[in-house]
């Protein structure tokens, strides 16, 4: 219970967006591919993935490996085998259909015309094979034939299958009220358990229904029976009403909310819920499933310092944080997300000892702090004061042997510096930059910069950073 509470409490807004976005993507894929073989195969792969997870949890190493390989292969196969379906979805006419529209998969084929034609053919004992495609692309399944393109009428269908017509032995493809192709060759089913009464037409109808979502109507030449093949099964049709029902069910729009009614709405809502639960499960498995530990070293940031004081020294500048959280969150940690902030508002002049607690540590949601090193930090602060110090020239090098530097005059003689009082207390002189005597062979004047050290000390704003040095040389006596 505590773990669940922790998980919910540690959810970031990014996590919710992550789950909702991916759930919607999954739901859209379902909407776009529903009714096709793709969705069935994907569901199958999903089950394999769950099985693989279970086998891994149970320690079935080889099984897990094999399932993992099958899943990888299946993903590849899906792309190859269902390339036409995928292409059809990707090549949607507008973005709306792809992102939030409801694709209309319905067929405008008039069922009555087909029913009447089929039973007329049956009455006359004329064999017929009529294919009503659905969403699956049949390009690779249906071979040969002649492109027809004629409007569907009873007379047209009867004449196509009339004995003696060169294309009467093949199948006729009917879509949206038009006969697209005639004399087409369908893939034959390899099933061995078909009854003897079924001939080649039945085997062809079954073959196509096994490989696609098409509805295939067969009229037996010998008995005048009507049979329908759908989803790899053959259905004997007792009367014209039953055939009409089959055709209407096959041709109705499958995804339109407006026309599908309450049942469709419930089905889509259920699908959306399943997508949400599925993605949530995956998210928790990947994002929060595996706890891991890490150690990060972050700089300590000092806040709310009085502007009149300066930090002179700290016992440590960085703190080591021992963190725990999900592997995904730990891996996504960035430098600016973890901070150690120390409040100096209560610091007094001198050395202050502060405890570093969890309150001082800023962490992204989902990451927990287990330990801090060090637990305490000493911060020495001092008041900023101004001090006037005499300037002295820092000579280096060597004068020519016959010369002596007898006198030096500086302008200005003093520099005003600003810095922590304890630092300035130990300073009594400001030195110039090093001036090489080797470059000097007569009395003269030069300008030099001042060297202000340590770094906490600075020249006052109104104090010159340069000094003019006037010097006098004399001949060295004997």
């Amino acid at each position: 219970m505590l773990a669940t509470d922790y998980l919910i409490a540690s959810l970031r807004w990014q996590d919710l967006v992550d789950i909702i976005l991916n759930s919607y993507i999954l739901f859209r894929l379902y909407v776009l591919f529903r009714g096709t073989q793709v969705i069935r195969v994907v569901i199958g792969v999903g089950f394999l993935w769950i099985l693989q997870g279970i086998s891994r949890q149970l320690g079935l190493i080889v099984t897990s490996w094999v399932l993992q390989g099958i899943i990888a292969l299946a993903a590849l196969i899906i792309i190859i085998v269902f390339r036409n379906e995928i292409r059809r979805v990707i090549q949607a006419k507008n973005l709306k259909v792809l992102l939030w529209g409801w694709p209309q998969h319905g067929d405008l084929t008039p069922a009555g015309v087909i029913v009447e034609s089929v039973y007329e053919l049956a009455r006359r004992r004329i064999g017929a094979l009529i294919v009503l495609p659905s969403q699956d692309d049949l390009t690779d399944l249906v071979q040969g034939g002649v492109t027809w393109g004629g409007r569907l009428t009873k007379q047209m269908l009867i004449s196509i299958f009339w004995p003696g017509n060169p294309v009467h032995d093949g199948a006729a493809l009917v879509r949206n009220g038009y006969i697209e192709r005639v004399g087409a060759i369908l893939p034959l089913s390899n099933r061995e358990d078909l009854p003897q009464r079924y001939g080649t037409r039945h085997r062809a109808a079954l073959g196509l229904s096994e490989s696609s979502d098409a509805l295939v109507i067969v009229v037996s030449e010998e008995r005048g029976d009507v049979t329908v093949a759908k989803d790899g099964r053959l259905h004997e049709i007792p009367d014209n009403l039953a055939l009409n029902r089959h055709i209407r069910y096959h041709c109705q729009p499958v995804a339109g909310l407006d026309s599908s009614g309450r049942r469709q709405s419930i089905r889509l809502a259920a699908a959306a819920l399943v997508c949400l639960l599925f993605v949530t499960g995956i998210w928790f498995r990947f994002a929060r499933g595996l706890e891991t530990l890490t150690t990060v070293e972050v700089p300590i940031e000092y806040m709310n310092r009085d502007q009149k004081v300066e930090i002179l020294d700290t016992s440590v500048n960085r703190a080591v944080l021992h963190l725990t959280g999900s592997r995904a969150l730990i891996k996504s940690l960035e430098a600016g997300q973890v901070k150690v902030l120390l409040d100096l508002s209560k610091a007094v002049v001198g050395t202050n000892t502060f405890s570093i607690t969890a309150d001082n540590v800023v962490l992204p949601p989902g990451i927990r702090l287990t330990r801090i090193e060090p637990a305490k930090v000493k911060v020495t602060v001092d008041r900023i004061v101004t001090k006037s110090l005499p300037i002295q020239v820092d000579w280096v090098g060597r004068l020519p042997n016959n010369l002596v530097l007898k006198k030096v005059s500086l302008h200005p003689e003093k520099a005003v510096v600003v810095g922590p009082s304890r630092v300035l207390a130990s300073l009594s002189t400001v030195y110039t930059e090093k001036i090489n005597l080797a470059n000097i062979n007569s009395s003269g004047r030069l300008s030099a910069g001042l060297v202000i050290a340590p770094a906490t000390v600075k020249l006052a704003a109104d104090s010159s950073s340069k000094v003019t040095i006037e010097y006098w040389l004399t001949e060295r006596g004997g």
Binding site: V393, D394, V396, S428, T429, Y431
Partner: protein, 137 residues
Amino acid sequence: MLRIHPIMAWLLFPLTMALVAVPALAGTEKSPHLARAVMCESLADYVPHRVAVVFPIEVGRIFCYTEFDSVPAKTFVYHKWFRRDQLVTTKRLVLKPPRWSSYSSIQLREADKGPWRVEITDRKGAVVKVLRFSVTD
């Protein structure tokens, strides 16, 4: 009315005078006057030679010469030698009336290169004069 016995008056008189005299003496105490203070390479008969503000290390020894032309009473001064603000040595020099010259010196080593100063302070530590110089190659 307060009346003091004559014997008591004779006993109290020296004490009263002493109490009055001490602050008076303190107020009039004169410090020795520093007439000259220089850094030099050598001294001969209390006369500084080769006065300079830069000394090559090869000189070996340098001197801080101080000359006081008015020394009211026997006293002493300090010569405090600093190298880059770090006190290296303190020399205590006795001064005797009426005039007195005195000096201190240090032996130079290779590590002594850099800016120096000698603070001349009186017996109470008040800085009378600061001499600044450098020891170079």
